[in-house]
Amino acid sequence: MRAIRSSIFMMVLGFIACKKPTENIKIVVDTDIIKYTALVQVTDAQTGNAAPANATITVVGENAANIYEISGKKEISLVQGMVTIGLHPNLAPTAEVPINTTVEIAAPGYTTQRKNISFTAAQRQQIVPIGISRVGNTAPPIVVPPPPVYQDVSLNFTGTCPNRPDIEIRPSVYVSFKKTGGTEPYRYLGYMDKGNISTNLLALGETYDFQIVYGGQSYIVAQKIDQSSYNLTLNMAEACNF
């Protein structure tokens, strides 16, 4: 019976046409599963540089069991001093009851530091800068001036999967940037929602490296800014594990 129904269906809908209905159609997968997130940016408090490569982050105390890396992994590690953490997707803070947690940053030669993070209903994304100081260093932390403001530029990122050309990823992650070839550390650009980010921190004529940290990996793409909109592609293997 099923075969008959299928045959009839294919006859009725299988009109005489050359093109397959699904030809060149990609399967688009969003990564905005963890809705309440915080970008933890750990720097050397005195230099402003990214935390040392062997710095670690541990979620401790209240709600630690419900905190995940943005890729859904329980393992949370810093990549060039950055990681995005967030609440289990089944949890949501309310206006009356925020969800609090604490992260502990440790690095050899540095004073271990703890920072409380509060996830609130009003703020789905937040930046949590943490400056760590060398043991015994009492110098005041460096103050990094805000980046200059330019014209608006829209960046559309598409994640691709190795060996799966039929799949596209629409990443929802924090983006950092720095001038290509520059020695300064990556700075926060903004939150990319479903692959799109608009920013006014990019100068015309400059070439930038854009970085996202996802699943313990750093993904970088470079682009010279000459116009107001760009479509960029990132190979995001860590987002393709399905």
Binding site: F9, V12, F15, D166, F242
Partner: protein, 223 residues
């Protein structure tokens, strides 16, 4: 495509002109018809205008539902497919050769009150996002929708006599409707929400899917 209505109109005029000459001996039989075929099941009333020309006014409906007809390579999923075609049609049956009354040319129009197809694709594997197992709602589904609603011309051939010699006969239609240019879209939910961005490509792929082939068996009862 614009030539098709002109052709049908000319063919009707020709038939009327030819048979107007023999109007004295005119019989105007009426028959009811039940049919089954690729446009589903239906009913019609046949009216003999002239010996060589009859008109058919009827309705047809085909609601189809099927599972797992549609597969996407490399993506484990189940699919629920549905198609709903409901039309009112007016067709002319013209028998061009007196010696071969079993052969007819058939032309006309149908108005498709509903002509849509839907495929719902649901990922069938447990979807792991890192160490998280997502719920069905979080995973979501993708709907591919196509709508051909509107007026559609028909052209075809008929086999066996239009009207029964006595009370009952069976005849056959083989032809095609040329449907409206389809409107197609893709709607996704959950982590598949972004698939709506594929609508333009889908619309482009489906734009030439306009021929609706008809193979239909008709059961006629003459009053």
């Amino acid at each position: 495509m614009k030539l098709l209505p002109v052709f049908i109109f000319s063919f009707l005029l020709n038939a009327l002109a030819v048979k107007g000459q023999g109007a004295d001996t005119l019989k105007r039989p009426i028959a009811v018809q039940l049919n089954v075929g690729t446009q589903g099941i239906g009913a019609a009333v046949n009216y003999g205008v002239y010996e060589k020309l009859a008109l058919r006014l009827g309705v047809n409906a085909i609601p189809i539902k099927a599972n797992d007809v549609f597969k996407i390579s490399g993506f484990n999923s189940t699919s629920h497919v549905s198609a709903d075609f409901y039309n009112i049609h007016l067709l002319a049956d013209y028998t061009p050769f007196k010696q071969q009354p079993w052969f007819r040319l058939v032309g006309g129009f149908a108005y498709f009150l509903k002509a849509n197809g839907n495929v719902r694709i649901i990922p069938s594997d447990d979807y792991k996002y890192g160490d998280l197992t997502l719920t069905e709602d979080q995973i979501g589904y993708v709907d591919l929708n196509v709508d051909w609603k509107g007026l559609a011309p028909y052209l075809g051939l008929g086999f066996l006599k239009t009207f029964p010699k006595r009370k009952f006969n069976i005849n056959l239609d083989l032809g095609t409707y040329y449907l409206n240019k389809p409107e197609a879209d893709i709607i996704g939910t959950g982590i598949l929400t972004g698939n709506s961005s594929q609508t333009e490509q889908f619309q482009s792929n489906i734009k030439n899917y306009r021929w609706l082939p008809i193979l239909q068996l008709n059961f006629n009862y003459k009053f």
